[in-house]
């Protein structure tokens, strides 16, 4: 008896209901197919326009057709240059982003403190709204071709995203837990470990996602002006050679890789770990 309490009761369905359910699911499948049809039509349409425009509206040296880009990607893969530049760029992004995370979190954690918030407030706003070009050129001129340039630019350009999200998290810190901690005389460090950090996790993650998105863009941008190795460097070379297919090929490779990291990897992690948190997923 105890085992059957709460077990789902099998609902007996009439023939009419079954027929209706089947019709509904078929209708859903057709609607789904229609949606996919339109989606694929969209892709085909834009690639088609690109192909047409390349031969007729603009010279096909200037606007190269899609095929040429694919061929060029193949050439790049074969030439072996890919790993050299890719690894250089990825290393800079990795180091820069770790620093960004640290700086952004520390400043964000200081937010509840009125004085520090006023101290850093304008800085965070300004760095968020300044074009990445500024960071690229400033680090280029200060650090020259050294890899510290991109790292410096990354920290300045993307720490504000981490900070803003951590600040948001601190604002939403559950006051009852904090008060309870004070009442039970829990120390600051223990409170940080057991209350603040777990609460901040989803905010940190959002900040990381958007900070990372900015970080890789600024890295490539800095490399365009001030590097002799790396994806940005190859982009500049292709630009100076007026080679649209080279430019598009390198862009496609790097861009697809980064999009993969951003959308697939990070979003998957976020969905898996924070599925249970509804209010955490604020943005």
């Amino acid at each position: 008896m105890a085992k059957t309490i709460g077990a789902p009761v099998e609902k007996v369905r009439t023939t009419a209901e079954l027929e209706q359910a089947r019709r509904a699911s078929t209708a859903r499948r057709i609607a789904n197919l229609k949606r996919w049809g339109w989606r694929i039509a969209g892709y085909a349409f834009f690639i088609g326009i690109w192909d047409v425009a390349s031969g007729t509206w603009m010279s096909d040296r200037v606007l190269v057709p899609p095929i040429a880009v694919v061929q060029e990607i193949g050439v790049i893969f074969q030439s072996g240059e890919l790993w050299l530049h890719l690894s250089s760029t990825l290393t800079k992004i990795a180091i820069g982003f770790v620093l960004t995370f640290l700086v952004g979190t520390v400043i964000g954690l200081l937010t509840p403190h009125r004085w520090w918030e006023a101290f850093f407030g304008d800085f965070v706003t300004a760095t968020m709204a300044t074009p990445g070009l500024v960071y690229a050129l400033v680090s280029g001129i200060i650090f020259g071709f050294s890899p510290f340039g991109p790292i410096f630019a990354i920290v300045l350009a993307s720490f504000s995203y981490v900070t803003v999200n951590v600040a948001e998290g601190m604002r939403a810190l559950p006051k009852d837990l904090v008060d309870m901690g004070t009442a039970f005389r829990v120390g600051d460090r223990r409170r940080l470990r057991h209350v603040v950090i777990p609460h901040l996790a989803p905010y940190l993650f959002t900040g990381v996602r958007y900070g990372f998105s900015t970080a890789w863009k600024v890295t490539v941008l800095t490399e365009v002006f001030a590097a002799n190795v790396g994806i940005g460097f190859t982009l500049r070379v292709q630009y100076q050679l007026f080679s649209m297919n080279g430019l598009l090929a390198w862009i496609a490779i790097f861009f697809i890789l980064m999009l993969f990291l951003e959308k697939v990897v990070l979003q998957l992690i976020e969905q898996r770990f924070f599925r249970w948190r509804q209010e955490g997923k604020l943005a």
Binding site: F119, D122, L137, V138, I142, Y161, V224, K281, A283
Partner: protein
């Protein structure tokens, strides 16, 4: 009593040091101090001292410049291009967004392309328009349109999806004429999304514009900072970098914040607005706007 009198001057000093206004001013001072320190300790003579950079900036402000255009001309040219490009992006974006919101096939057709376009970095827009359109006005304007349009489209879409159905149904059942319903229910509900599109589309458009000017233009703010970079004049680069930062601060705090405070004055609590993330991949910016607005609210309450 004697104790209180003796401690009053130090109390004033402590209160001065502790106030947030001091903190706000202290940051640029700290940066200048660090900069001066770096200048004195760094061996390379590429880093200019704060004094040199500030005097360069002062010269620029007084219209004494070595570059082809003055500070004001460069920014004016850039802002002009931004205005043209962004207006086109707004109009086209709203039209496309409305079509997408109203007709599902259109949405399925265009959605992926819009999301991909949103993710294209401004650098790529700059390089591509540079190669495609050469020098002149067209490249920067197209770059602005490319950067800002997906923003507008997605925010309009999100706004339409979030339209308050209950209120619209209620207005229909009370037989309120359509125009009135649109004016008093639909448009105000779209306002936060339109504002987010305007504010962050503008700023992102500005980033894209400046980059396009670097690669494909012979005037404008982006070109000018590149000019100083190529001339290897660090105080030029740093000076213009500071102009950019000041401009960004001005736009954020001086233009958009007051507008957002006035426009959303009627709203009791901004945090109660639902934010749609799946439909608006860049809702982060909107959320940042929300948290900033909230901060302003709590600031003004104190």
């Amino acid at each position: 009593m004697a104790v209180a009198v003796a401690s009053r001057p130090s109390l004033l000093l402590t209160r001065f040091l502790r106030s947030s206004r001091t903190a706000r001013v202290l940051f640029p001072i700290a940066v200048l101090a660090l900069w001066q320190l770096a200048f004195m300790t760094m061996e390379s003579n590429i880093l200019p001292s704060p004094a040199e950079t500030l005097s360069f900036m002062w010269d620029e402000i007084r219209l004494e410049t070595l570059s082809r255009h003055t500070l004001y001309q460069s920014f004016a040219i850039s802002l002009g291009r931004l205005a043209i490009g962004f207006s086109i992006a707004l109009v086209a974006g709203m039209a496309i967004g409305l079509l997408m919101g109203l007709f599902k096939p259109v949405e399925d057709f265009l959605y992926d392309i819009v999301v991909v376009t949103l993710a294209v970095p401004s650098l790529i827009w700059g390089l591509m328009t540079g190669l495609l359109f050469g020098f002149g006005n067209l490249a920067p304007i197209v770059a602005v349109i490319g950067v800002a349009i997906p923003f507008v489209i997605l925010n309009v879409l999100a706004g339409l999806k979030n339209s308050p159905k209950e209120l619209l149904d209620m207005s229909r059942s009370f037989e309120i004429p359509r125009m009135r319903a649109i004016r008093h229910v639909l448009i105000p509900s779209l306002m936060p999304f339109l504002f987010a599109a305007l504010r962050y589309g503008f700023i992102t458009g500005w980033h894209g514009l400046v980059l396009a000017e670097v690669f494909a233009s012979s005037n404008g703010a982006g070109w000018t900072i590149r000019f100083w970079y190529d001339a290897h004049r660090a105080q030029g680069v740093l000076g213009y970098a500071l102009f950019f930062i000041l401009f960004a601060l001005f736009i954020e705090r001086g233009v958009f914040d007051p507008i957002s405070r006035r426009a959303f004055r009627w709203r009791p609590s901004i945090a109660s607005l639902p934010v749609v993330e799946e439909a608006v991949p860049d809702a982060k910016q909107f959320k940042i706007a929300l948290s900033q607005a909230e901060a302003e609210e709590t600031d003004s309450k104190e």
